[in-house]
């Protein structure tokens, strides 16, 4: 295992008498690490790879035991999923709920984070601490009362109720992420603009928002991800009309074979964009995890 933190390679073993053995040994070590990482990656991917195999098998051999390794691939389960279930509707629900709740959380969160990053005082500290506490509450302590309330108000099983619940649950974390990004922008910029006669809101709109592009994108990605992943809230607050894909997949689990294979197909359809996402949005995910959560 090496920690190759940009040390010049020659200096690494100054005491080695025979210089030649150095690079060779390091290369050997490199291969070892490479091989180990390859196995780890394979292990991390194994559930996905196996599901991909299972859903492209003909239905009669899909879940046989001992498992079938050689077969003629078919996409019939995807076709069945699309034709016999309401998967399409659940997918639309999931996307609409995730997009709207992300937008709403950002519209509320961006000004608040800006205010918190610029106004020092005990109220700012209290608000940030509250946001941290709300992020870590047991989910049912919020969602069960919401279920009760949504039944009373007649909004149970609507996308509206899901959006409201997700904004409430995820918005505190967006403040944390965004505040740290705002804190990195020097205050002198605000002051210069204010001297030039801008109002606070003009500063936010004309100067901060353009500078905050990557930060807002990062926060947006996380909000979207959390909304898209949410199972528990959707399980409680939806029934038929506003059902999301994670809930659909979980309910299919109790079914028999053709439906099970369709659940697998649904899982794969959800996984493929996620894989693309992990590669495309990697930079923002890493930046968000680094800045949003580490720094107080």
């Amino acid at each position: 295992m090496t920690i190759d933190v940009a040390t010049p390679p020659v200096d690494q073993h100054p005491q080695t008498a025979v210089r030649k053995s150095g690079p060779d040994r390091r290369r050997g070590k490199g291969w070892l690490i490479g091989g180990f990482l390859f196995i780890i990656c394979l292990a991390m991917l194994s559930p996905i790879l196996w599901t991909a195999a299972s859903v492209t098998k003909p239905t009669n051999v899909a879940f046989l035991n001992p498992p079938v390794f050689f077969y003629h691939p078919t996409f019939q389960s995807f076709v069945d999923l699309w034709q016999t279930t309401d998967f399409y509707r659940y997918l639309i629900n999931t996307l609409i709920i995730a997009v709207i709740s992300t937008a709403a959380a950002l519209i509320i969160g961006v000004p608040a984070a800006y205010g918190l990053s610029r106004f020092r005082g005990w109220t700012s500290a209290i608000l940030l601490i509250l946001a941290l506490i709300f992020r870590s509450l047991p989910r049912f302590s919020i969602v069960l009362p919401m279920y009760d309330l949504s039944k009373t108000l007649g909004v149970y099983d609507t996308r509206f109720a899901m959006v409201v619940a997700l904004v409430a649950i995820n918005q505190p974390f967006s403040i944390w992420l965004l505040r740290n990004f705002f804190a990195e922008i020097p205050q002198e910029l605000d002051e210069a603009a204010l001297l030039d006669g801008c109002s606070r809101f003009q500063v936010l709109r004309r100067i901060m928002l353009p500078l905050m592009g990557p930060g807002i994108l990062t926060a947006g990605i996380f909000m979207f991800l959390f909304a898209f992943q949410e199972y528990l809230t959707a399980l409680i607050l939806t029934d038929v009309n506003a059902k999301t894909v994670p809930v659909f997949i979980a309910t299919q689990l109790g079914q028999t074979l053709p439906m099970l294979q369709q659940a697998g197909a649904a899982a794969m359809l959800l996984t493929l964009p996620v894989i693309a996402f992990a590669f495309i949005a990697q930079r923002y995910l890493v930046a968000g995890l680094n800045s949003g959560s580490v720094k107080g």
Partner: protein, 289 residues
């Protein structure tokens, strides 16, 4: 910034937090002191919900199981995350590729990941991992119907889902370790292990602590994974605290909403206690000019 501007900027967020989080929370606390079902006003029951939670052996088992899972999985996450972070950090050209692959399990909805995970082990679905294990060792393991094998796949799945997060956070920490210190240690001729143990790990202690804190808080609330991976959770004693709340306070019309709410409040107290050092740190920082 003037106070009026600050209030205007923060107000929408505060209103949302108050209306949609504080009000439901208040409801939960109120319910925890009542005998109540959904949609009807409850009757005051004092602390009877708390006493029946604390004397319910099933709740006791749920606490022991959840805490055990949290401790084991967090330990594996911190150690594994550190080792993996060191390795990935040493990569150059292949790093984005490896990171992309490793991130997938973090980005996937947990319920979907756990469902796929269950198909690796379930013989009814041609579980390949179980099959290979059977061929190699000649033994049959009941992953879903006996307690300990089931716990093993639960730990594996929790680690699988959270390892990318631990790795990324620790990697960020590693990039902040000063090169001078590492070089100085190397000139002094320390071994690799000494270098990690005495130089690198102490300088990223704060981040390792934070990773542990987040993992503990998240695993204490574990719920999603149990649905596909432990269909017999209650019989096996593999019921998590959150699943217990779900079972008593929602399923079958939520006959025990008061009891579930009391458990919610207890879990909240535990999480607050765990967060308190972090909160005190924030308060101290805020008092500085």
């Amino acid at each position: 910034m003037r106070r009026r501007e600050y209030v205007a900027l923060v107000l929408p967020s505060v209103l949302v937090m108050f209306g949609l989080l504080v009000v439901p929370l208040y409801r939960t606390i109120e319910w925890s002191l009542q005998k109540v079902t959904y949609g009807s006003p409850g009757s005051f029951a004092g602390v009877s919900n708390y006493t029946s939670a604390l004397t319910d052996p099933r709740f006791g088992r749920a606490v022991v199981f959840t805490v055990g899972l949290t401790v084991v999985a967090t330990a594996i996450l911190v150690v594994g995350g550190y080792i993996l972070a060191c390795m990935v950090n040493a990569l150059r050209r292949t790093r984005p590729l490896v990171l992309g692959v490793l991130l997938i399990s973090y980005v996937l909805p947990q319920i979907v990941g756990a469902t796929m995970f269950s198909w690796l082990f379930d013989t009814n679905f041609g579980g390949v991992a179980e099959y290979l294990l059977h061929v190699v060792t000649g033994q049959e393991v009941h992953w879903f119907t006996s307690a300990w094998p089931n716990r093993i796949i639960l730990v594996l799945n929790v680690v699988w889902a959270a390892l990318p997060f631990a790795m990324l956070m620790i990697m960020a920490g590693l990039q902040g370790v000063s090169n001078d210190m590492i070089e100085a240690a190397e000139i002094d001729g320390v071994s690799r292990i000494q270098l990690h143990w005495h130089v690198i790990i102490p300088s990223i202690k704060a981040i390792v602590g934070f990773v542990a804190l987040i993992s503990i808080m998240d695993i204490l609330r574990v719920f999603d994974q149990l649905i596909p991976l432990s269909p017999q959770a209650v019989q096996l004693g593999n019921e998590s605290i959150t699943l217990y709340i779900y079972n008593v306070a929602f399923q079958n019309g939520g006959q025990n909403l008061g009891l579930g709410s009391a458990v919610n409040v207890l879990l909240m107290v535990i999480i607050m206690i765990m967060l308190s050092p972090f909160i005190i740190g924030l308060l101290r920082e805020a008092r500085k000019p």
